[in-house]
């Protein structure tokens, strides 16, 4: 675990795995350390389908962003954005409309620094270092960035985030605060691990992650429904990631997708 990679600057603790770098590794990225990869191996033992789950989740994010762009959304708030990896929100959105604006929010020092590095020449995207479970601070910093217009609809993205938010943090109330801050016509995208699909594997994953800095809290479909209070779910509702508005014919087994995905529109 404490194996040191020679190029890592002194003072950065590579011995502590992070969920963001674990996700990067599962997606085939190189922004990770031995500790992250060691955790990934355990993760893969519990859930051999983890790479696919990660890919499908990332793919859902892309489709959700494109869906929102299609519905006229040009500004995005990506909560818990993590390490920039393949297919970042601003790349997707700006490919559709270069004027699209994106605010990334993450709390982890390296993820934020990395995001800054990538975004430093992009005037329409920025990253703020805040804890997405503290919506007051996030919203204040977001307004302060001046990038998003809160009188216009905003696409709020929480891809693979809420399963790191414990029940005692009251996820419904967190979402409600974001919901109240954005105008009607805004959208909320959620993807989150569930025990509804592969209960055994999910239990194994929870066990593995329990020992990490980022324990996981899978939720049932009805629990996820609770997050959409005040939103109208768009078709097809809450479904395994590959079933959410797939592009072309679907070849992935929804029962092994691990993650539910949904998008709602604020009414």
């Amino acid at each position: 675990m404490s194996e040191r990679v020679s190029w890592v600057p002194e003072g950065v603790d590579t011995g502590k795995p992070s969920a963001a770098r674990l996700y990067d590794y599962l997606l085939g990225g190189g922004h990770n350390f031995a500790a992250d990869r060691a955790l990934a191996e355990k993760f893969l033992q519990a859930q051999p389908n983890a790479r696919t789950i990660a890919r499908l989740n990332r793919s859902f994010l892309r489709r959700a962003v494109l869906f929102m762009v299609d519905r006229g959304i040009r500004q995005f708030l990506d909560l818990g954005s993590g390490i920039p990896t393949v297919g970042n929100v601003h790349e997707i959105a700006q490919k559709a409309d270069p004027e699209s604006r994106v605010v990334y929010v993450d709390f982890e020092e390296v993820a934020v620094a990395h995001s800054r590095l990538i975004l430093e020449h992009d005037p329409n995207a920025t990253v703020i270092q805040e804890d997405m479970t503290k919506p007051g601070a996030v919203l204040q910093a977001t307004r302060h960035s001046g990038l998003l217009d809160f009188s216009q609809p905003i696409g709020v993205l929480t891809a693979g985030v809420f399963h790191f938010v414990p029940p005692q943090a009251d996820p419904n109330a967190i979402v409600a605060t974001y919901r109240d801050a954005v105008p009607a016509g805004s959208y909320l995208a959620v993807s989150q691990f569930t025990q509804d699909l592969q209960p055994e594997e999910m239990a194994g994953v929870v066990e593995v992650m329990k020992k990490s800095q980022n324990p996981m809290y899978p939720r049932t479909k009805s629990e996820i429904e609770g997050l959409f209070d005040g939103f109208e779910l768009v078709e097809p509702g809450i479904v395994p990631t590959p079933l959410w508005r797939p592009e072309g014919a679907n070849t992935d087994d929804p029962d092994k997708a691990g993650i539910y995905a949904a998008v709602g529109r604020k009414v």
């Binding site: 190029w7 890592v8 003072g11 922004h31 990660a54 020092e109 072309g248």
Partner: protein, 646 residues
């Protein structure tokens, strides 16, 4: 295509992926390397991506092409991994730089706060050794700079008595029982002087939460104290001499009352007004400063409290003191010749002393008692002192209290006029009635003396004159010759009053009372002082007497010059076996020889009256109690009836 997209996430639409793969197929035979690069840049980099690709391509393409593709793919992956790792390295370096910058900024902020704080701040290790201290703290403890404190033991600056308690408090903080503690303690400066401070102590911990250092913040209370004291000083001190003022002195006396027995000295400079008036106020002020200095030295020596409590009056409070030796010390301190602006001035003081008063006495009472004693001492002359006599004081106090209530009493009709008969000792007949003031159980003379001390004697005297004449006029109208002559004894002030004659004439005019029936007794002091009221009254046809006769030569001399009918005296009755008897008899003979009758006031018994008769006196007052006007009227009515007439 599906074979590939299931191995890795490619963030493109299916159409775009399809197009990219078709392009790759066309390029593959000529340049497998560019196809490999394209695959990697598309992010077809899953663990199975290459296998899936080769499986799809192997039936159609030769092994050398596939080998070049594989080799180039591996190289591109390698470079891609390097790129990503380079990227995260840069990110981490930036993150670290950012943290360091934030740290530097916060460190700079801390340093600024540390250096410029009005609070003394010191960081000590857990043994109490100073690691870093700011200049403010150094100033508080009397050192040059914060660096002077480095490596010194902070406990050196705590009072030895506080060490145990403070040590326990510091431990509580480092052991995490409390986050911080606050305290008010005395530090000992480098020069040994104490300084009052507020302390706030908290703990610094390392990354693992272990306590490593204490932070002690020190607020110099003494500056506040000084400011407060300076304000208090202005309120409580005399600006000329810098001594405590009266108010401050009283509060200090109050504080001491419950403790050891105290002695108060009230000092009045003798003849200070002479200095002030003769040499000027500036000289007077300088003299007062000199007195203050000399008394101040004495007070410091005796650990006494000194104050300037009046223009030329000082007060000294000592504890468990010997009065006579202190008085000697005071006079000795002031007795040295004093030269002010080339004027040699002899100084002495009169002193009133209150020694070991009872604990229940209030400071205000004690100050008043000391003042009363000073007045007594002054009455005796210069350089005198008097001890406060509680009994004497009670008498005076009663009198002053009465005087204070007199105006109200008069206004409310509580002061009455009564009439006392004047008896002829030879015929035993009533010669007339003396109109007198009656208030409570006070005699006329006491009442008049009180009236004199309050400034009421003139209005009261006029009122007495007017009312008594009116009453006597009614009696004269009703009873004719049976009505008594009216005797009125005036107070000292009224006897001397310029308007007296006019007042008397007005009273007679307004009441119609015949002047020949009025007898005015003037206070003898007015005549002695050369006042001519007696002469003018005599010339106006009014019979006069002199009250307060004592038989002195000056008084006898006056009798030869001023035409008076009689003198009135108050003295113990001369019993025939007393050695005074002959002297009194001779005196009365002398008075008679001048054509003046001799009357005696306050003769209350027939025996005394008989003694006076034998000594030669003519009339007495006091044999019968004084009566109200209505009672006198009744008596007069009874006397005028033929059957009861005597």
């Amino acid at each position: 295509m599906h074979a590939l997209t299931s191995t890795a996430y490619i963030p493109l639409s299916h159409a775009e992926i399809k197009q990219a793969l078709l392009d790759s197929l066309r390029e593959l035979p000529g340049s497998p390397e560019s196809v490999a690069n394209r695959l990697v840049s598309l992010h077809a980099t899953g663990p199975d991506s290459l296998r899936a690709t080769i499986e799809v391509l192997s039936p159609a393409f030769e092994l050398p092409v596939l080998a070049r593709l594989s080799s180039a793919y591996a190289q591109a992956m390698r470079l891609d991994a390097f790129d990503q790792q380079e990227q995260i390295k840069v990110a981490i370096v930036r993150a670290k730089q950012r943290v360091e910058r934030t740290l530097q900024v916060s460190q700079a902020r801390f340093q600024e706060v540390f250096d410029s704080a009005a609070l003394g701040i010191v960081i000590t290790d857990l043994t109490g050794r100073c690691v870093e201290a700011n200049d403010t703290l150094a100033e508080i403890v009397g050192l040059g700079s914060g660096a002077d404190l480095t490596d010194r033991d902070l406990r050196d600056f705590y009072h030895p008595d506080d060490l145990a308690a403070l040590g326990a408090s510091y431990r509580k903080v480092s052991e995490g029982h409390v986050d911080r503690f606050r305290d008010q303690r005395k530090l000992i400066r480098a020069d040994g002087e104490p300084v009052w401070v507020h302390l706030v102590v908290s703990v610094l911990r390392d990354a693992d939460g272990r306590p490593t250092h204490h932070v002690t913040m020190v607020d110099d209370m003494s500056e506040l104290h000084l400011l407060q004291r300076s304000l208090d000083h202005q309120l409580l001190h005399d600006s000329l001499t810098g001594l405590s003022n009266r108010q401050h002195f009283i509060s200090q006396v109050e504080r001491q009352l419950d403790g050891k027995p105290i002695t108060l000295y009230h000092l009045g400079l003798d003849a200070f007004s002479v200095v002030n008036n003769g040499l000027g106020h500036e000289t007077g002020d300088k003299l007062l400063k000199i007195v203050a200095n000399r008394l101040g030295e004495l007070a410091a020596e005796k650990k006494a409290v000194l104050a300037r409590i009046g223009g030329d009056e000082f007060a000294l409070m000592t504890v468990s003191d010997n009065v006579t030796s202190t008085i000697e010390e005071i006079q000795a301190a002031l007795g040295e010749p004093t030269f002010v602006d080339d004027h040699g001035i002899a100084l002495s003081v009169s002193i009133g002393v209150v020694d070991r008063p009872p604990a229940f006495a209030t400071a205000g009472e004690l100050m008043r008692c000391a003042n009363a004693a000073l007045r007594q001492a002054k009455a005796r002359g210069k350089r005198q002192w008097a001890l406060h006599d509680p009994h004497d004081d009670a008498r005076r106090r009663g009198k002053y209290a009465l005087a204070a209530s007199m105006p109200g009493a008069w206004e409310h009709g509580e002061i009455e006029i009564v009439y006392a008969p004047v008896h002829d000792l030879e015929s035993q007949e009533v010669l007339g009635a003396v109109a007198r003031l009656h208030w409570d159980d006070l005699s006329h003379n006491d009442t008049m003396a009180l009236a004199d001390s309050t400034g009421l004697s003139l209005p009261i005297g006029r009122w007495l004159l007017q009312e008594a004449c009116a009453q006597a006029a009614r009696w004269a109208a009703e009873f004719g010759d049976g009505a008594p002559t009216l005797h009125i004894a005036l107070g000292a002030l009224q006897s001397r009053d310029e308007d007296l004659v006019a007042d008397v004439k007005r009273a007679l005019d307004e009441t119609g009372f015949p002047p020949e029936r009025l007898r005015i007794a003037l206070d003898i002091s007015s005549v002695l002082a050369g006042d001519d009221n007696a002469l003018v009254l005599h010339d106006s046809g009014i019979v006069t007497a002199l009250d307060g006769f004592r038989g002195g030569h000056d008084e006898l001399a006056v009798l030869t010059e001023v035409p008076v009918r009689s003198v009135i005296t108050r003295a113990p009755a001369p019993s025939p076996d007393s050695p005074l008897y002959q002297a009194m008899r001779a005196l009365i003979e002398t008075v008679h020889s001048l054509g003046v009758r001799f009357g005696v006031d306050e003769v209350h018994t027939l025996e005394d009256a008989e003694h006076w008769r034998r000594a030669g006196a003519d009339g007495v007052i006091g044999l019968m109690p004084a009566l109200g006007a209505a009672e006198v009227t009744e008596l007069l009515k009874a006397a005028s009836r033929p059957p009861g007439a005597s």
